[in-house]
Symmetry: C2
Subunit: 256 residues, 2 copies
């Protein structure tokens, strides 16, 4: 029982089918266009003719068909199930996942964002969107704890998924990469003394390590950090939204 995602794209709503097939579903003309602009070519375009209410979506569907690109046509009911948005526009795409390994050479000062576990796909997507805006080169996922190809993460990332290099690495692989590239790994902790704005780039890349929404960095993540910094907060406040914390850290280490 391994349904073909090209025939039944709704299986890609589930992580298991995404992991097994190495594919993911992307919803909406806006995101599909951003993917293509970033040279991420769909394996298939998904089209629901009944839902093409605007000339932009009709033209796009026609362009994909006449260009000879694979098009997978689905009925309205299925497309709504697949999209789960209140007002689906009838366009989607199936793409190949391309989270790979960490790049061998990494230049001094280039920025990465690192994750072990983030609970909310929306928060993960917001972190990726912010990382891309801050000029980061990529995102590294230490465990299997989060999936950048989750529909909610893709939506919140607003196309940043395709502008960043995505890498998966086991802890020991990451640790070796960090030594080899002389990376500076920075994490936020309320117990740290150094202010988050006091980070100075070293001779390698900078990795901003983000913890989970409730507990922050795990012990495992803290062990991988070269530097723990503190985001100052007024009395009565003990935490920030993880996307906001990522934004402050990323913009603080950004060179400009």
């Amino acid at each position: 029982m391994n349904p073909d995602p090209l025939a039944t794209p709704e299986v890609l709503r589930e992580r298991e089918a995404r992991d097994r097939s190495g594919l993911f579903y992307l919803d909406g003309l806006g995101l599909v266009r951003r993917a293509i602009r970033s040279r991420r070519m769909p394996v298939a375009t998904v089209v629901c003719p009944e839902l093409l209410r605007h000339s932009s979506t009709r033209d796009f569907a026609e362009h994909r068909r006449s260009g000879g690109f694979p098009v997978c046509q689905v009925a309205e009911r299925e497309f709504r199930h697949l999209s789960r948005r209140a007002a689906p526009d009838g366009i989607g795409a199936i793409l190949r996942q391309d989270a790979g390994s960490l790049p061998r050479p990494a230049t001094a000062g280039e920025i990465w964002i690192g994750f072990d576990m983030i609970r909310s796909p929306g928060n993960l997507g917001t972190c990726l969107r912010t990382a891309a805006a801050a000029g980061a080169r990529g995102a590294v996922f230490l465990g299997e704890g989060c999936d950048p190809y989750d529909p909610g993460a893709l939506r919140a990332a607003m196309g940043a998924t395709f502008r960043l290099r995505l890498a998966r690495a086991e802890e020991r692989v990451f640790a070796a990469w960090r030594r080899r590239t002389r990376a500076l790994v920075v994490g936020a902790s309320s117990r740290a003394r150094r202010d988050y704005r006091a980070v100075r780039p070293g001779r390698g890349p900078i990795v901003v390590m983000m913890g989970d929404e409730r507990k922050g960095l795990t012990r495992r993540q803290r062990r991988l950090c070269d530097l723990l910094v503190r985001i100052p907060m007024a009395r009565g406040s003990d935490s920030l939204n993880v996307g906001v914390a990522a934004g402050l850290m990323l913009y603080a280490v950004r060179a400009d």
Copy 2:
């Protein structure tokens, strides 16, 4: 047909009933405790005995009862409907809204966050949470476009709602306050030239004016700004999540 919110608290899920009664519903022991810690005393505590699964919630309910505070007991079905969380803890409270007018004197350097319209209650709550962490004094709402007492906003604010002074002001009232207090009103715009980190406090309060998620500042809001600043972004990125943008702006104007 004006159901009494103390007898039927679920009416407070709707803004109209909140506006009419001047009350709001707060869900969960964590937030109710934060409200009380900020001296926001419930008009009534809402308790669902069947859902009190932890000693902390049972003790709290017992404490409110034995202390002679008004307690409104509801059945499980109603409480679940009221809470709408996956795992409600059986504790809630009805509180009085206290968004008032702008304070007459405002000290130099104190920070406010200003809103006209934010579409997502979660984003509004995140902005308030971030403002409180950055040490802001309050939040000012120019129109009726957003409601800090929306359940989603209360949840995302994580208690910041009770640590900030909330003010509603019509545009002309805000403009007069701005002149009188010598406030510096700062908004973000992708077309601005000045970097957001280059804001220097003046002789009055600083108001960080936030636009809506899709279109940013309205023309009306821009007219109220003394200064438009730009958050630099890498090529390919054209916007940030509104909570992230608020975080960068608020932490940039924060004196420390």
